[in-house]
Amino acid sequence: MSNEMTGAEMVIEALADQGVEHVFGYPGGAVLPIYDALFHQQKITHILVRHEQGAVHAAEGYARSTGKPGCVLVTSGPGATNAVTGLTDALMDSIPLVCLTGQVPTHLIGNDAFQECDTVGITRPCTKYNYLVKSVAELPRVLHEAFHIARSGRPGPVVVDIPKDIQFAKGAYSRPREFQHKGYRPKLKGDLDRIKAAIELMRYAKRPLFYTGGGVINSGRPASQLLREFVKLTGFPITSTLMGLGAYAASDAQWLGMLGMHGTYEANLAMHDCDLMICIGARFDDRITGRLDAFSPESKKIHVDVDPSSVNKNVKVDIPIIGDCAHVLEDMIRLWRSGSVQHDRKALDAWRQQIEKWRARKSLAYKNSNQIIKPQYAIERLYAATKDRDTYITTEVGQHQMWAAQFYRFEEPNRWMTSGGLGTMGYGLPAAVGVQVAHPNSLVIDIAGEASVLMTMQEMSTAAQYDLPIKIFVINNQYMGMVRQWQELLHGGRYAHSYTEALPDFVKLAEAYHAVGIRCERPGDLDGAIAEMIKVQKPVIFDCVVDPAENCFPMIPSGRAHNEMLLGDAAVSVEEAITEEGKVMV
């Protein structure tokens, strides 16, 4: 059998060899040869989106829910520039993606040709790596390498820009093979001496705490399993970032809930007061640390991360361990088991009791109403109705996202898809499309805000085309809620342009997209309406009309420390709580 084929055919072969089953894309002049090659084969299913940003978010949802790289195919120029938001989102949240972009023929590059843009120049800062393929001979190697780079080490998006003449040109295809990249070699095994030192610290810690993040989920299922095993073995309490939810079961007694700006009282105070912080696959983001000079002042810090540049970036740590979470956790468990010194149970018990006192403060409590739906209540009821099902949750960005993180309790990894680092409004709907493509028989719900979801609403058309029964659960408060909350706290309640007038009728909008629209305005109707939403085997837009004035608490105001957080019932003096210094932060 000859392996001579066109560049476009090589793309299909390479995707199939890399295990790609679905590609999210949108055709255009500079990728037509690849689309023609798609037309002639059965191995790869193409999902036609309505906007390239949607393609990238869908691929992100696909990747995050399966652990496999997502794949995107777009055209040159506007196709590539429309993908930039999604690529940046994937870079910030370390989502493995390969995005193939068409390019004008090589002889026209730099010529301001029709639909030309400097794709590698534009995407350089928003990809883990990118390529411009200048010869068909290098195309197979580049494609395989792109997948290797996207999924290994700290995962991320990789762009391969393929000029149209390269897609037509004929060359020899080669299959992927094990190879050692000359420069790129992520370190997976952690330094054993450092791991030993970390275990020593853990044995003598009196107030230890696990602080875990998205890295545990990116590492794959074994990492979550090992984390659970290690946390159980040590008996230490555990909290996690927004990106890490689901790596540890939220129903477990050692779980403290999410930490950070809208994290629980017990998680944040435990972070502040602990004497040993064991950070696994998290990166000390500013949403987590609050005021840096008051961040966990008395603790020794252990930081496990596959990316050396994440270590000592914001917070100086005592024991950095560069390696993949699963590998390091495996070593940690082995060493912990083999040690002869028993951990000081007495101190740990006192620490747990302290944490229980904080927990008893019930920081997520809110004042419910039987007149108007409270957003927290809506998510609690959604959780109650779906927790025993095979459910995946995506979100947009804003208050609803924080409430979802607080009130939806995740038991398993890869069930929670949200835009954490970049905070991309409009992420959730296309991400739900991607998740549903990967899991056609599961219940996929986008917990959305009415402002965010309008940014990528066009992807409802994609859901309709492919019979993807995604559920868009819109927490509709008519405001950009988080913007409004900040304006209330920081700008004297002057709600400049955070109220959306003339919102669409979401029920009619759903119907226009061949979907089902459900509106719910009374707390008493909520359970029935949610049950109806779940039952419908079509895409649904659920317009959940909620209290427009509700704020998201607890909250660590900008420029404040973990032990200066605001709780909902004490929020009267919110404006004074934010310092002048804090106002300039975001």
Binding site: P33, V104, T106, G110, F114, D118, K164, D165
Partner: protein, 181 residues
């Protein structure tokens, strides 16, 4: 390869002679200016053979960039025009067409060896007017300046004598005669 029937892009022009040109570019020394110049080359598919940059007029915060590039006359013309269009660029002069000029490069060449090899390296260095700027009992570092081909020749001669590594500045250029650029 016949692609005209299946693409809406114009066909590639008939190939022209590729030339090498040396460009001197005067720019504001501000953050990101080098990235803009380099981005222009990578984004538009131009080649860079050599690039040097340093601040040359401190009070005015001006840097002088010397670029050696290859392309057809049309591409070279485009490169000049594109460079000239960048906001922080003051002047672009194509030294290759502007008139007589001098091009020089500096290289540091490390050679390791003993006995006759060591003596031969030293003799050749003398012939090329390369200076010894570091020495140990088994190595030399030579400093050599000159046109690029002179440095190439010297490095090639050092290869069998125990060449370890070379560090080169890349080409700098200046016009002959009394006038500045």
């Amino acid at each position: 390869m016949n692609t005209t029937a299946t693409t809406h892009y114009p066909a590639a022009p008939a190939s022209q002679q590729v030339e090498t040109h040396t460009l001197s570019v005067l720019v504001d020394n501000e953050p990101g200016v080098l990235a803009r110049v380099i981005g222009l080359f990578s984004g538009r598919g131009y080649n860079i053979d050599s690039l040097t940059v340093s601040e040359t007029e401190h009070e005015k915060h001006l840097s002088r960039i010397t670029i050696v590039t290859r392309g057809t006359p049309m591409v070279i013309e485009q490169i000049k025009n594109q460079l000239d269009r960048l906001v922080p660029v003051h002047r672009v002069v194509d030294m290759t067409v502007a008139g007589p000029h001098i091009e020089r490069e500096l290289a540091m060449v490390k050679v390791r060896g003993k006995g006759e090899h060591r003596m031969e390296a030293l003799r050749l260095a003398d012939a090329f007017r390369a200076r010894v700027i570091d020495a140990s009992t088994e190595s030399f570092v030579f400093e050599i300046t000159g046109a690029s081909d002179k440095i190439e020749t010297f490095v090639a001669l050092m290869l069998p004598l125990g060449l370890v590594e070379v560090s080169r500045t890349g080409v700098v250029a200046i016009g002959r005669g009394p006038d500045g650029m």
